[in-house]
């Protein structure tokens, strides 16, 4: 087996597993900080109970996010040492800053938050949760600064056989960062909101008088939160698509299964993709709609994969430059389809809970339980779009994936590590989800007694 393929699988497995849990913590940390602030300003005990109750779900996700994050950091050296040598001058700095500015903040104060309920004033304790939320979301910023360079390199020069940083502010100001970062943050908000709606819906369906108030309030806040997240993640995603059409047209063309250059460009709704013959064997198209989506008009053309492939060959020499189109195409449809559905579901949830009739819409509550996972599926699909669309480059236009792998590692050792990680992730995933279900479906008062 090829170490490159094995290393890609291992990285993909770790990243997807990591990203199953991390966005929950991004969104929930802010939600908890808002809840606890409400407790401080209103003085109502129920908000403290809500903070503690949903805090448990947050902490389970946080723990898994932390340990898989360590694996992520090690990976750049373990499997991708040539990447680390080529990119260390640029990639290392945001990673070190992430540690100093974000990880220390969230990890130190999460301990204070868990253990500090009786040791700090109410205000200080709520402030600590805000620090955790800021730390978590700042860590997303810095890792996306690093990732954005791989998508859209800026502020660098090729010197001494590697990419060297020449302008830190250009790195931080990379337009890719300022599309991707808000996209990820708002996705986290939607994910957190939907998760709390799902558990609240489960409780409301139990129809218990003593918990109704608790979960009606949780639901109302979570639905607003989810709607804000769903609307923004969609709008920002749309802007991001328009940006990518200029910065990484190959990625966008692959997302859209767009083989032939068209002016105006039509949008493929559904297609069967034949990558080998560079065409779609069957598809349904909407004329001019891709031009509208990417350029806000009905006339601008968009180059197809065939033409872009020729351009890349002219720029970088012979080779295959078209990413795996089937994965890109279906991932993007999954992401966008679920994204639109999320807006609809969250809007209904807000509408009915604001009118105080949500407990009567039992069919809708039943739908909301599985729907709790929808934004997570969309966010993983989004990452597949972003990262497979980079293929064959590990750093767009500068280093290919096959040149980035560690020359020292054997297929046997990667199979060993991948198997071990898979076993561990499976155990962690099963235990983590089981604990989330256990705590999410437990009575709030009971959960309170055991304390955290």
């Amino acid at each position: 087996m090829d170490p490159v393929i094995l290393s890609r699988w291992q990285f993909a497995i770790t990243t997807i597993f990591h990203f199953f849990f991390v966005p929950v913590t991004l969104g929930l940390s802010i939600f908890l900080a808002i809840l606890e602030t409400k407790y401080v300003t209103s003085g109502e005990e129920i908000y403290k109970r809500m903070t503690k109750f949903w805090g448990k779900i947050f902490l389970i996700n946080f723990a898994i996010g932390v340990v898989t994050g360590i694996v992520q950091e090690f990976h750049f050296g373990l499997n991708w040492s040539e990447y680390a040598r080529f990119m260390g001058d640029i990639f290392g700095a945001p990673l070190a800053i992430e540690g100093l500015m974000a990880f220390f903040l969230e990890s130190t104060f999460i301990g204070v938050w868990i253990f500090g309920w009786d040791k700090l004033s109410k205000k200080a304790h709520a402030g600590v949760m805000w620090l955790v939320a800021i730390g978590s979301n700042l860590s997303a910023l810095w890792i996306l600064v690093a990732n954005s360079f791989m998508q859209n390199p800026v502020g660098y020069a090729i010197r001494n056989g590697r990419a060297e940083m020449t302008d830190f502010w250009a790195l931080l100001g990379n337009p890719n960062v300022w599309h991707q970062f808000p996209h990820v943050i708002t996705a986290g908000i939607a994910i957190g909101g939907f998760l709390i709606m799902a558990f609240s819906a489960w409780h409301l369906l139990q129809n218990k008088a003593e918990t109704r108030d608790f979960f009606t309030r949780s639901f109302r806040r979570a639905s607003t939160y989810a709607l804000i997240g769903a609307l923004l993640v969609g709008l920002i995603g749309h802007a991001q698509g328009q940006f990518l059409a200029k910065s990484q047209p190959l990625k966008v063309a692959a997302m859209e299964g767009h083989w032939e250059t068209e002016q105006p460009a039509s949008f493929s709704v559904i297609a069967i993709i034949d990558q080998e013959n560079m065409e779609n064997t069957w598809e349904i198209k909407i004329p001019k709609f891709l031009s509208l989506m990417l350029f806000n008009d009905l006339t601008t053309g968009f180059p197809g994969l065939r033409e872009l492939q020729e351009e890349e060959i002219a720029k970088h020499g012979p080779g295959e430059y078209i990413p795996p189109v089937t994965i890109s195409y279906w991932s993007s449809r999954t992401m966008i389809g679920i994204g639109l559905l999320m807006i609809l579901v969250a809007a209904l949830a807000v509408w009915w809970s604001q009118r105080g009739v949500i407990a009567e819409r039992r069919w809708f509550l039943r739908i909301l339980i599985p729907a709790g996972l929808l934004p997570t599926v969309a966010s993983i699909a989004g990452w597949l779009v972003a990262e497979t669309g980079r293929w064959p480059w590990i750093v767009h236009g500068l280093q290919k994936i096959e040149d980035a792998v560690s020359p020292t590692i054997t297929p046997g050792s990667i199979i060993f590590s991948m198997t071990t990680f898979l076993v561990l992730y499976t155990i962690l995933g099963v235990v983590g989800v089981a604990l989330m279900i256990k705590y999410g479906t437990s009575e709030p008062a009971l959960a309170e007694e055991k304390g955290e």
């Binding site: 902490l59 389970i60 946080f62 723990a63 932390v66 340990v67 898989t68 360590i70 694996v71 950091e73 750049f76 050296g77 373990l78 040492s81 680390a84 040598r85 260390g88 001058d89 640029i90 990639f91 290392g92 700095a93 990673l95 070190a96 800053i97 540690g99 100093l100 500015m101 990880f103 220390f104 990890s107 130190t108 999460i110 301990g111 204070v112 868990i114 040791k119 700090l120 001494n160 060297e164 940083m165 020449t166 830190f168 560690s406 020359p407 020292t408 590692i409 054997t410 050792s413 590590s417 071990t420 990680f421 561990l424 235990v431 983590g432 604990l435 256990k438 055991k450 304390g451 955290e452």
Partner: protein, 338 residues
């Protein structure tokens, strides 16, 4: 002093912080099944590090990040060369990290016992493997002209490095014991104290033997760059002071002495290496040093500014958390959460 030297010192500081803080965390995890018998006792032991272990672990993550940023070739050579050993370390870190959180989530005694052992092995494995890794750095590995080490796992498991692993294990364990000494009260506290004597004797024997072996097998103690001998002597003195303070019943001083052992031993390793980062046993020209492994001057400047701002801030707020949770714990303390 140039920025390369400054970052060598900063890397040393980060590893000192990591080994000092995670050292007692690992030690507490290793001692857990032996010093605490009932669930209440175990909770007391875990809760001594409960509020701080996560922040402590960031010292390792930041040390790794700083190595990547300042000396990317070291990061690349070390992590890809020590692949299998580091995977084992990750296994330990993964199960340990979730154990604290998962353990308290169910009452079932079998569930809790399972995670107690996960904490034990998850602390033992990284403690041992960091010792093995650092000893290999001191001894040197077969780095080739392309800066890569192709030897795999087996050459890393040489007698010297395995012995170094045991020394790390012993030092972290007595450091953890001293930490429990200042953080516990009641029955568990007494039990920790009775363990400490035996552990200290073992640590002294191992450490002295290791110093002699280091003198014979490496050039760390007579490095022409910076002197590793002085910190080595000071570390040995601190280790003896640890025993003296323990015998006098001065728990705070025992902990400080144990911490100094770890910090001085780390300083010994890095000064003994300077200006090298990774020694090649094949050809000195293949060794990685603070110049041929470093990032560009521009990047070093950027991260220097960031470190100058944030390291003091981090030290201040982490120090504050230790102040908040300064109270001693016992099996019947009301403030146990994990």
């Amino acid at each position: 002093m140039d920025l390369n030297t400054l970052w060598f010192i900063l890397l040393t500081v980060l590893f000192c912080g990591f080994f000092f803080l995670e050292g007692f965390d690992y030690g507490v995890g290793i001692l857990l099944p032996f010093v605490a018998r009932t669930d209440g006792e175990r909770r007391a032991v875990i809760n001594t590090i409960g509020p701080v272990w996560d922040g402590n672990e960031v010292w390792m993550i930041t040390a790794g990040g700083a190595m990547f940023a300042a000396f990317p070739h070291m990061y690349a050579t070390l992590f890809s060369g020590f692949y299998v050993a580091l995977v084992f370390m990750l296994i330990g870190l993964i199960i340990r990290g979730v154990s604290f959180e998962f353990r308290s989530k169910r009452e079932d005694p079998r569930w809790r016992k399972t995670w107690d052992w996960a904490i034990f092995f998850g602390s033992l494995l990284p403690a041992l493997l960091w010792g093995v890794a650092v000893s290999n750095l001191m001894r040197g590995v077969a780095i080739e002209a392309d800066l890569n080490y192709y030897g795999g796992l087996l050459p890393l498991l040489n007698p010297y490095s395995l012995f170094g692993g045991l020394v790390f294990l012993a030092l972290f364990t007595i450091h953890g014991a001293a930490f429990l000494g200042i953080k516990l009260k009641g029955k568990v506290h007494q039990r920790v104290k009775s363990f400490t004597r035996v552990l200290w004797i073992a640590a002294v024997v191992l450490a002295v033997a290791f110093l002699v072996w280091t003198y014979l097998a490496t050039d760390i103690l007579n490095n022409p760059g910076w002197d590793g001998l002085i910190p080595a002597i000071l570390a040995a003195v601190s280790l003896l002071a640890y025993g003296l303070f323990y015998w006098m019943g001065k728990e705070g001083w025992t902990f400080i002495a144990g911490g100094l052992v770890i910090i001085l031993a780390t300083v010994m390793v890095f000064s003994g290496l300077f200006p090298r980062l990774m020694i090649s046993t094949l050809d000195p020209a293949n060794s990685l040093d603070i110049y041929n492994a470093a990032s560009s001057p521009y990047t070093l400047r950027v991260i220097t500014i960031v470190a100058a701002i944030f390291v003091p801030i981090v030290l201040a707020y982490q120090g504050w958390t230790y102040w908040i949770f300064r109270k001693r714990l016992s099996a019947d303390s009301p403030e146990l959460h994990y």
